[in-house]
């Protein structure tokens, strides 16, 4: 069933394209059946899970890499699957209204469905690599959703930013997970968790954990990676509501919670998560109060809450797991609703700016009512579920597992964030729904279509009714999740009114009070100087990093890939020297004795020495022709050496080729300017001379070392012996060429043949801008250049086409 749910979701994704042909609200209700079915299926498992069962399912995939499609459903997974599919159902309905008439709606549903499948896979996965695969898929589908309105630069930027940050973190996560699995000896999550003791003792623990943190922090928008989340608000609101508040951003928290039993309670875990979580929580809370855009406000409040969750995951203490689970649920309920309502407002009023909105409570009464209730939940006002969760947070904060000193700091931070939470909830409500009518709104604003309010209504209702009598049931549902996080029998007990006047309750009330008081000073707070230095702005750093990288890359590439062949050649030669020279010098001359020069005949010596002379002449030649002739002497002398040293075939071939090459070279280059221009400076020459000299010395060394270091008998003896008897030829070289190694020769003539084709095409097929005379038509010679006929034949014949192929005839 687990596997089926994930696979069916993916398989059903193309169904979303139906919306392309029917971009009207009813399609949303139809398509919502898919997440609804999933919700129903998971909900059906709830009793069993509550009863303490655990479902598992696995099919092998790439066993050799440790990848196995292993899924398992426990309390934590159940909570998330219910959130994903439940809120998914509402979003699916909402979308059809929000995007009504948009031709891209089909695409949007496809992305949404893929996302849902990925998210389900992620929370169900019981194999780290499978988890990672779905993790990445959520990033990708999120990218497509954020960039849905890709005609706008901001949408592209937001999408790209989110993807780069989350994928970057994902890569770290991947390495971390592999390390973790290496340490645990298994890729199965449940087995990894079981190996907690062993893991914490492993030397891989620290690197693995840091890398996993990186993955979780980027995904869950923790400081300093939080900046991508507000930019992801470029997504159409359904996506924001679904991904960026209710589900995907919690993936990082989910993973921390999932690994909590195995990896927590070390200083690294505690301090990192506590500090990052607390900072994120505070920054989010503060900045949310400075945003004018309602989605921006909600995004920062989400960041703040994510920080809270990470803090709860890290701080330890008996209440923290329960508080974490409650917070996840509460946040999903009110934030999902608020986002959808913000979308409704945007949809109807045509703006999301607080300064341009106002007084909508009369024009959009239902929206206003739902928004107010959810905001109260967000503010933690009693009898709403947000209050219950906040109580839990404060309990956890009061009774945290941190060392003295730090515990107080964390407590203060939690309270402070609660204060700010009241403040931004108030800003949202008062700014949008109260006061005079906003200035920047559309002319005739009216209530959003009912379908658009279904989702918010359901979620808000839950926020309201859960505390009204369903708390035990909720607690029962959440208990298995808590068990998954904290295996040592931590009990979750949710309550609306505590039995006694406890410190958390006092703190909660105090925070509400202070928050209420501070609402008086809201304009001053919004206008107050930023608590963070100006440069310390994720957006700006991101942009600067991107630009800096591009500029750096450009100037680096310009320098390196500068288009100059000689510079590339220099690299190549230096590479050769660098690779060959050290081993040659170190080991190449082992056991060599200096050669005996006595057997060298004077006339061979003269011939051999004429080669360097020819080389030198080629180098020093000041005209092309001079250089060509000088170099051909080199070839001739080499051929001569071949003759003397018993290689007549070689000498003949060498000479023939040498001559033909010279002729070809002359044919092509004799017509160009004859003299060489002086193009390089003396210092360049000196440098090149040094490089060339070094390489030459190395070649001499390696040649001599190899020629004096023949350790094995060559196979050529067999050819000498068998040339006549088996190859029926006396010229051993030729027998090798046409028989023993005739296959080489075949390749060789093919090389010639291909070279001909290439040269022919290159010379005759010109780009159309150049004067073109293609193909084999024989050229008509201009009178000045070529003698067409020998004089004694008198009359000039009519030009035949030389392509007259007797071969074809």
């Amino acid at each position: 069933m687990l596997l089926t749910s994930v696979l069916v979701t993916f398989a059903a994704a193309p169904l979303g394209l139906l919306a392309r042909y029917l971009p009207r609200p009813p399609i949303g209700w139809i398509l919502a059946l898919l997440p609804l079915a999933a919700f129903a299926a998971f909900a059906a498992q709830a009793p069993a899970i509550i009863a303490g069962e655990r479902m598992s399912q696995a099919i092998p995939w790439v066993a050799a890499m440790g990848i196995e499609l292993r899924f398992s459903l426990d309390g934590l997974s159940l909570l998330f699957t219910l959130l994903v599919s439940g809120i998914g159902t509402l979003i699916f309905i909402y979308t059809a209204y929000y995007l009504a008439g948009d031709p891209g709606m089909g695409r949007f549903y496809v992305y949404l469905t893929v996302f849902m499948g990925s998210m389900l896979g992620l929370v169900l996965a019981d194999n780290v690599l499978t988890l990672f695969i779905f993790w990445e898929l959520t990033s990708v589908s999120s990218y497509l959703l954020v960039g849905y309105k890709h005609d706008y630069a901001d949408a592209r930027r937001g999408a790209q930013m989110g993807l780069l940050v989350t994928v970057g973190g994902g890569l770290a996560l991947l390495v971390g997970l592999v390390l973790l699995s290496t340490a645990a000896g298994s890729y199965t999550i449940s087995e990894i968790i079981a190996a907690g003791e062993q893991l914490r003792a492993s030397s891989l623990y620290t690197p693995a954990l840091l890398l996993i943190f990186l993955g979780c922090f980027t995904k869950s928008a923790q400081f300093p990676f939080h900046f991508w989340l507000p930019n992801a608000m470029q997504a159409p609101t359904p996506a924001s509501a679904y991904l960026h508040s209710a589900t995907m951003v919690k993936a990082g928290v989910y993973l921390l919670a999932r690994l909590h039993p195995a990896l927590s309670e070390t200083p690294l875990w505690i301090y990192t998560l506590t500090s990052v979580g607390a900072i994120t929580m505070l920054i989010g809370a503060v900045v949310a109060n400075r945003r004018d855009d309602i989605k921006g406000l909600l995004a920062y409040s989400t960041i703040s809450k994510l920080g809270t969750m990470v803090l709860l995951a890290g701080m330890g203490g008996p209440e923290a797991p329960a508080a974490l689970v409650a917070t996840i649920l509460a946040h999903a309920l009110y934030k999902g609703a608020l986002f959808m309502l913000a979308g409704a407002v945007d949809h109807e009023a045509g703006t999301r700016s607080l300064s341009q909105l106002g007084g909508l409570r009369r024009l959009m009464p239902w929206t206003a009512a739902l928004a107010i209730l959810s905001s109260l939940s967000m503010a933690g006002v009693p009898i709403l579920f947000g209050f219950v969760a906040k109580e839990e947070q404060l309990y956890a904060a009061v009774d945290n597992g941190l060392p003295a000193g730090l515990d107080i700091v964390v407590l203060i931070a939690v309270v402070t964030s609660a204060v700010f939470g009241v403040l931004y909830a108030w800003r949202l409500v008062s700014g949008v729904f109260f006061g005079p009518l906003g200035s920047g709104m559309k002319a005739h604003v009216h209530e959003a279509p009912a379908g658009m309010l279904v989702g918010p209504a359901v979620l808000t209702t839950l926020s309201v009714i859960l505390p009204l009598g369903l708390l035990p049931a909720t607690a029962a549902l959440l208990q298995p999740a808590v068990n998954a996080i904290a295996d040592d029998g931590v009990k979750i007990s949710l309550y609306l009114i505590p039995s006694e006047l406890s410190l958390p309750l006092i703190l909660s009330m105090t925070a509400l009070l202070i928050g209420a008081v501070l609402t008086r000073f809201e304009p001053q707070i919004a206008a107050a100087p930023s608590p963070l230095p100006l440069w310390f702005n994720g957006d700006r750093i991101y942009d600067a990093a991107i630009n800096g990288m591009l500029q750096g890359a450009t100037s680096f590439t310009r320098t390196l890939q500068n288009g100059k062949l000689r510079s590339y050649m220099t690299w190549a030669v230096l590479a050769l020297v660098a690779v060959v020279m050290p081993p040659l010098v170190l080991f190449g001359f082992n056991g060599l004795v200096l050669p005996n020069l006595a057997g060298v005949g004077p006339f061979e010596l003269v011939s051999a020495l004429l080669i360097p002379v020819g080389v030198l002449a080629t180098l020093r030649a000041r005209s092309r022709l001079g250089a060509i002739i000088a170099s051909s002497i080199v070839g001739a002398m080499i051929a001569f050496l071949f003759v003397i040293y018993s290689a007549p075939d070689l000498a003949l071939t060498q000479l023939l080729i040498e001559t033909l090459a010279t002729v070809f070279l002359m044919l092509l280059f004799a017509v160009l300017p004859v003299g060489f221009e002086r193009l390089t400076s003396d210092s360049e020459r000196a440098r090149d001379g040094l490089i060339a000299g070094l390489a030459g010395l190395m070649m001499a060394g390696v040649a001599f070392a190899a020629a004096s270091n023949m350790q094995f008998a060559s196979i050529s003896q067999a050819f000498r012996a068998e040339s006549r008897s088996q190859g029926f030829g006396d010229n051993v070289v030729n027998v090798i060429l046409v028989d023993f190694r005739g296959f080489d020769t075949m390749g060789e003539i093919v090389v010639l043949f291909i070279a001909l084709l290439g040269i022919y095409a290159m010379l005759r097929l010109r780009p159309s801008v150049e004067p073109t005379r293609d193909d084999e038509e024989a050229p008509t010679p201009p009178a000045s250049l070529d003698g067409a006929t020998p004089p004694e034949h008198g009359q000039q014949e009519q030009q035949e086409t030389a392509s007259e192929p007797w071969l074809k005839a």
Partner: protein, 89 residues
């Protein structure tokens, strides 16, 4: 080494030195045709040296290279001379 071979060896050495002189002209120029004349003469030297080498060693197989070398010496000289003309600017 027999007296005959010694004699030939001396002659070959002389030829080698003479070859050096021709190469000197090749390097010295000054004009391109000067170099080509030297090239032609160098080929002649090589033919001569190989002939004498064959006479001393009796390795007749090497003799067959002479024809080709001569042909190529001619072809090369003529080609260069001809193309120098084409290329005059």
């Amino acid at each position: 080494m027999s007296a005959f071979q010694s004699g030939m060896a001396i002659l070959m050495l002389v030829m080698s030195l003479s070859l050096g002189a021709a190469v000197w002209r090749l390097l010295r120029g000054p004009s391109i045709p000067d170099r080509v004349v030297a090239f032609d003469l160098i080929i002649i030297h090589l033919v001569g040296l190989i002939t004498m080498f064959v006479v001393t060693t009796g390795e007749l197989v090497l003799l067959d290279t002479l024809i080709v070398i001569s042909v190529l010496g001619f072809l090369g000289t003529v080609a260069i001379a001809r193309l120098i003309e084409e290329g005059r600017s």
